[in-house]
Subunit: 136 residues, 2 copies
DNA sequence: AATCATACTAGTAATGATTACTAATTTCGA
DNA sequence: TCGAAATTAGTAATCATTACTAGTATGATT
């Protein structure tokens, strides 16, 4: 792996991400880091997020809505995606670690891991809908 | 839901997809249906694939590589994605239906379902790699 | 069979997330 | 301090997908 040199921008990106639990997109990271570094470019944000993910310092989340999100932790856990507002929420599930093993038994390739996320309506959106019905 | 009218193009798309088990992309569908309808446009292919998926006649697969794939069956099953060649293969797994229930217990929103796919190296790529080592 | 509203098509332009390129700047070991 | 190599800002390019638009096909009603 190529040698990494320090950069203030990369540090700022990492520090910002560490303050968030809502899995921001590259664009949101960009808008926020710009408060400290007004000249930072979106390309720099993308490159560093990708770099950090490759180093295993953060993780990239793909939930198939066309926009990647980033998570300051690499500890394995699952996500919930609200199909209304698009928000991504951490889940705490256990007993799903042996899935890969289970699948391996009748599969001739080699399985490295799996991607799983749940979808539905988050509490906020459910409450909102109830409120609107109430007012009509 | 809006009323659907018959179209030869849509029928051809559906029929082509039915012959495939390798989850082709929209572009591959396009290239093949073009043999029968040389003037069909890529937009038409996309629109009809989306339409058919909305109707529940086919399903759209998102494995986060930036390109959607399509599956002629809507029966729930899991997929394996080869991280080398990108091929998508059907899996036969059971005992994973109660996952959503399990997660629901300590989650305040409502869960409709989940997306799961496995990744690793397919048999072809493993064999290929072994062969190259052998020849060097 | 002719009419007509409406869905559908081909072709093309637009969108939006991400990556690639390039000249100038920063980092850091020698 | 010097210099090789990584990094950056700014911009252009890419690529999958969607949107638009004028013309065509479908199918129910006469």
């Amino acid at each position: 792996m190529k040698e990494l040199k320090y950069s203030r921008q990369r540090e700022a990106i990492k520090e910002f991400l560490a303050t968030r639990t809502d899995h921001p997109t590259a664009d949101i990271v960009y808008m926020n880091v710009r408060k400290e570094y007004p000249n930072i470019s979106l390309g720099t944000v993308y490159r560093n997020l990708t770099l950090l993910a490759d180093q295993g310092e953060i993780s990239r989340i793909r939930v198939g809505d066309g926009t990647d999100r980033f998570d300051p932790t690499t500890k394995e856990h699952f996500h919930f995606v609200c199909k209304n507002c698009g928000s991504v929420i951490d889940l705490d599930v256990d007993g799903m670690d042996d899935m890969a093993q289970q699948v391996s038994r009748n599969f001739s390739g080699s399985i490295d891991g799996h991607v799983t996320y749940f979808f539905g309506s988050c509490k906020n959106c459910i409450d909102m809908e109830a409120l609107q019905k109430c007012n009509s």
